[in-house]
Amino acid sequence: MTDRGSTSDKVITRAWWILIITTIVVGVLGLFLMYVLTGQIEAEDPIVERFTPTDVFVQPDAEWNTSILEPRSPESREIRKLSWLVFAIAVGIFVVVEGLLVYAIIRYRRRKGDPEDTREPVQLYGSNPVEIAWTVIPIIIVLVLCLATIRTIQTVQPTKGERPENALTVEVIGHRWWWEFRYPELNVVTANELFIPVERPIWLEITSADVIHSFWVPELQGKMDAIPAHTNYWKMTAEEEGTYLGQCAEYCGNQHANMLIRVEVLDADGFGAWAQQQALPAVVVDTEEVNLGREVFMKYACQNCHAIAGLCDGTYAPDLTHLMSRVTFAGGMIPNTEANLKAWIDDPQQIKPGCDMPALKLSTKEIEQVVAYLVTLK
């Protein structure tokens, strides 16, 4: 009977060796196999860099300022007032609690040569008055915060029926990875750059065409999510003319970082002129180069996704009818220049890896023709 233990030991030992060796062999083979297969799938011709973009990440004529501390609308001013109140209360509590902690650490540290050192300190089990006090005081603070919060929610957050009479409606539609802005009252569609009149309430109807995004222009308003098959109502009123920047704030996949928003606030006249021009169909220029470019645009897949009023009506990608009225493109990522358009059409994946626009492998000549056409779309 004494033998039984050692026999089973040997069997177990052998089993373990077999298990370990098999794991290693299978693992190495598997890794090798995957390496080979992966290599085959990814083996493509290297992309020839014929055009290079310039000034990526530059916002023409605008300073990047997205601080929530510099509100430029009544709504964000309301939010900031509340934020400062909460911040002040938090700082107060911070000072008191950390102060008590630091004081207690210094005051009650064990000192060398303390005659009391051999005895344990007084064992205090608790104190009802003190414990009630530090329960009731926070309750009062919480009550104050609650009331202030609810008041600000009431002021800032609109519900569906609360659209102001004189408001301008803009449908904000999040796409991967660009923004579509539609003005149903003005028959205007644009992308990434939101033009609004100053001192007029803007009624935003925010939704999404694919995954969840979030519309965030910090100086003008807090963020509001763009959710597919669901409309959120949001309201903001710009107080000053100028350019305000923002970006998508809900992770929406690969190029979440390059889904920027540019808000141009114009005076009433300027906005009217802009809207009038945007409502027109695309300009038709009749020169040989431009005609060739238009042919290239219609011949390849461009027209499947992009719309140009009077020519084609794709809805998947930004409307190009007035492309050249915008100062940036590619989700607001790069300045809208001829050189950048060429580089972009040559290979969008070089500039914005993972975006949904494919490199169509046009020849250099075709790229030059199609860009010659695009720059006429004023």
């Binding site: 177990i12 990440f57 939010i79 934020s83 909460v86 929610i153 807090g222 597919p228 970082a257």
Partner: protein
Amino acid sequence: MTVLPKPTSASLPATPHGILERVHDWVTTCDHKKLGLLYIFSGLFFFLIGGIEAGIMRWQLAQPANDVVGPVTFNQMFTMHGTTMVFLVGMPVLLGFGNYLIPLMIGTRDMAFPRLNAWGFWMFLFGGLLLYFSFIGSSGLFGTQGAPDVGWFAYAPLTSRTFNRGNNVDYWILGILVSGFGSMATGINLVVTILCLRCKGMTLMRMPIMVWSMLVTGFLVMIALPVLTAAQVMLLFDRFLGSHFFNPQLDGSALLWQHLFWFFGHPEVYILIIPAFGFISEIVPVFSRKVIFGYTMMVIALVWIAFQSMSVWAHHMFAVGLDPSLNAFFAASTFLIAIPTGIKVFNWLGTIWGGRLSFHTPMLYALGFIGMFVIGGLTGIMLATVPFDWDVSDSYFVVGHFHYVLFGGTIFAIFGAVFYWFPKMTGRMLSETLGKWQFWILLIGMNLTFGPMHISGILGMPRRIYTYAPDRGLDIWNLLSSVGYLVQFIAILIFGWNVIHSLLKGRKAGPDPWDAWTLEWATTSPPSDWNFNPLPSVKSRRPLWDAKHPEDPDYEYE
């Protein structure tokens, strides 16, 4: 007269010899102490991996328009970092300490279901490995992109087949699903063990706060995790069987996922912090040489937090456009949970007050925990203010906030616990000198990393962006965060060296190196297979105080 044979943990000889026998012993063990150590060790291993993933992100973000990694890799890094730290570091390490310590603290031989316990651990480990297998398993073969890249809360419909054609989301679902079963088993085990196996004399109100916190955590795990599991199964149905729970194009709801996820997710946050409260409530009294202040209120606060934690989930969703009255409700509910949390902090201060503090490493971490957790708690109150949340939700402010809670809170508490109970677990002391160096470097490093994140958030930097434009005023704050990461990394290296060195050459600890009061210090270090012989009986919350001061026992005052 019959003589019972001496019980052993397996059919193998009691002391295994030879490397394979030892491996076999650890793999087949049902001993709560070995499983506890396995949990903690695997958790710390994943901590290292999650930390490296964080490093890749900080490297990429150290400069604007950087190109260390591309968007795909970056998105995988923050997804895996979050998932790893929550599911494969926080939970297993905390539950591991529970596993190791609860039977010792309540004076029993093992957990109520030892084999379920082992099953739970292996489910967790293989769930974690399955998730990590996505790095190689998911790439190439089906034309997909490696590890999951949908964020740790994997919002629908980004996870649908339409937007994620590969199978990396399936790895995310299944890895977490499998390890979730393990956590549920451990949760049930903790609850049953604590309710049924306490030694003679240990009433519920004589249990150490740590045991209370594990009881509450066990209940939270049992309530919260099945919700996640159910949601993940629904998502699997969406992806494979053509159902459309979360598909808005076919009348499903994208928001349903958020409700389900955060109904799990917020209790989960408390699953990650309540055991940490337990550690601190053990360490602070011992190194203050005082009984815990306001024991009853501490227990009430724990149970209060647990209940309340299930009514605050939509504060993660203030920006999704809920009805104003719902926003107000969840804001109020979130403010309210600050009260029991405040009570706990004040009670720790009350324990320190009038004590005689000695600053051994566990105490440093406990005090660091209180200091940092207060900051995280206060920014939490700020975020509960709905309009402020519209400004900074999903920005780096939130990232800074929860890292103060989960790093300054949970991770500090875990380091405190490691330093405090390492002698019990291994029989050797960790080096105090190295421990203090590590503490101060880590404290500086974490503040350097996570402090500036609040400012980047206020300046308008959304979370999860792989790049940002120069001249936005973000450069310096991001650079500081990245430098802070390096500082923290040094601290972690010191810790690793400390553990290895002390395991081999550390000072012998003896059964009770800290002159503490709870039952685990009444047995040898490390404890024998069956913990106590004979089983102890207690008359108060501090049985070892009674033994050390027979003239002045606790039970005359409680």
